[in-house]
Amino acid sequence: MEFTKKQELIYNLPIEHVMRKNVITVTPDTTIRQLKEILRINRISGVPVLDGGHLVGVASIEDLIKALEVGELDVPVGQRMTRQLITVLEHASIIEAVKKFSQFHIGRLLVVNEKGTLTGILTGSDITRGLLEAINLNDHAKELKRNPQIIFREDIVSDQTSLILRYHIKEKDFKSGGSASSKIKRAMEQLGISPQILRRVAICAYEAEMNLIIHTNAGGELIVEIEPELIRMTITDRGPGIPDVEQAMSPGFSTAPTWIQELGFGAGMGLANIKKCADSFTIQSNLGTGTQLDIVIQL
């Protein structure tokens, strides 16, 4: 069981997660002398050669040694580089990369996207590091599953199981602004929610949290309910209430006092940002009683 999980992890790990993205490249006009310096300074054993952004070859330490033997220091790299391009797709599994390494006996693989543009470079040690990190993360996730505080357990059966996170937000507590949203974001990360959804949840949570801090008389509550198919956020406060909800929703409209606006808050974009990120968003507000936001993001 343990073994298959790890295997699955390896098969599912895409190359783009372990490759190095800051690739040092040269052009065909680069001289062997310059190449020598680039390899030495960056402590690398080879570089991709790009001509007008197009991948045309690889200049490795082997090519360099051959050129040095015959004293060709000022010859352009374009004439001495290896033209055979051994590439892998960035979305491919690292298994693909491992196969190519053993097939071609090379030190590095060029990683490209569907259009053939170079997006990264991959060595054997990148794969080792990536795998170790992935296994570590996986173990961490398993630990969370064992933690009884996490209720997504297979042995708990109900018609509808959800995880509820509750945060109390204090009015005018600017120093803590964003701390509830940060905790929500971290919880989502631990649950393995995708980065795209994570961004939308983080924006909604942040804007709602800041609204409670900036505008309420007595703070409020931010409740996040995570269900298998959706995330529901309910934000309630006890006043003062919004006189004109439609006006409050329009981008740029703000009732925040000047000193708050000078800090960069109260841009009048909060509710508009929530609307943009939510799959459904409703506001109920009564003057004197308070406001409730209901936000739903589908998973």
């Binding site: 980065p195 924006i203 804007e207 800090l263 940002n273």
Partner: protein, 114 residues
């Protein structure tokens, strides 16, 4: 793709928090002093240029997984803000220049706004 270290060197920025993570990539940039606008416009691995230097800047940068924040016009964050940035692993960079000049330099380095 350009990394943060290159930006720091080219723009002569002073780094004050989480400086051990300077090799991270920079994929784009965004400039605004309004936090909600940054929330909307800045994305993962973007640089955010602003003259705001208070603690909520760290919250925004952390929530969005930004590459870092460049604080302009010589504004200096409080020790409390720096401590929060260390805790959240947010890189803060300072410059005496204004936002307009910094954005111009970032664009010259090939960093785009989208």
């Amino acid at each position: 793709m350009i990394d943060l270290q290159t930006v720091i060197e080219q723009l002569n920025l002073e780094t004050i928090a989480s400086i051990e993570r300077q090799n991270r990539p920079v994929v784009g940039g965004y400039a605004s002093d309004l936090l909600s606008c940054a929330m909307r416009g800045a994305k993962k691995d973007f640089l955010w240029v602003t003259l705001q230097s208070h603690v909520n800047v760290v919250a925004v940068a952390s929530l969005l997984n930004l590459a870092g924040v460049i604080i302009t016009e010589g504004n200096r964050p409080s020790p409390e803000t720096i401590a929060q940035a260390e805790k959240e692993k947010v890189i803060l960079m300072l410059t005496p220049k204004n936002t307009f000049s910094i954005v111009g330099q970032l664009i010259a380095l090939g960093i785009s706004g989208e």
